[in-house]
Amino acid sequence: MRTKLLKNGGEVMEKQVIETPKLGKIEYTEDDIVYMVSPLLGFNHINDYLLISSPETVPFVMLQSIDDTDISFILADINLFFKDYLPHYSKRELKVLQVNNIEELKLFGIVVIKDKPQDATINLKAPIAVNLEKRLAKQIILDDDRWEIKTPLFKSDRAE
């Protein structure tokens, strides 16, 4: 069973369904929609997504487009893998996401898996910051050379 991340509001909302090629049928309500305040680069036509977690894919979550059901991404909660990851966000970025400080945001990295999953990389240069409360998200490109676009996700010398 797939469950949508967060949101356990009391009232019953009208359910909608999308059929996706990779994740099958997904039910959602208006409240589940995560709105990308600026589109992901390369996906200018898409703003509405669902953030889907399921026991089978922990610690990964899926970012599924509603507008174009062919589009989905694998995300990982960056702090689960990189404990000391704390980028600097400008006041302007925080304001756009309607928070006062970065701790109120969940930071996800987009994961790319080439041939071997153990060689998977995560994009720490442009994390997707999500305000889970307000359902707002933005991919923020960091002006910080400590973090790389293709950071190995699994490293033998790091505890997972």
């Binding site: 898996i113 153990q118 994009n123 442009a126």
Partner: protein
């Protein structure tokens, strides 16, 4: 492409609300200042392209299939 010559501290105005100013020139490097509305994103082009390429790769179908296989085999 429109090409204009500017000196240090001279600006260009793009549209009504974007100003691009040459702040400093040293050797081959030029420091540029940009004033633009908050909703206008500004990126170094090579980084913009790299992130875009990474996003496109990340949405490819193989990506998810591989992940699911990997998790099943764990």
């Amino acid at each position: 492409m429109l090409v204009l010559t500017r000196k240090v501290n001279e600006s260009l105005i793009v549209g009504d609300n974007i100003e691009i100013k040459v702040v400093e020139i040293s050797g081959k490097a030029i420091k540029i200042g940009i004033d633009a509305p908050k909703d206008v994103s500004i990126y170094r082009k090579e980084i913009y392209e790299a992130i875009k390429e990474e996003n496109l790769q990340a949405s490819s179908k193989d990506n998810i299939i591989n992940l699911i296989d990997f998790i099943k085999n764990k």
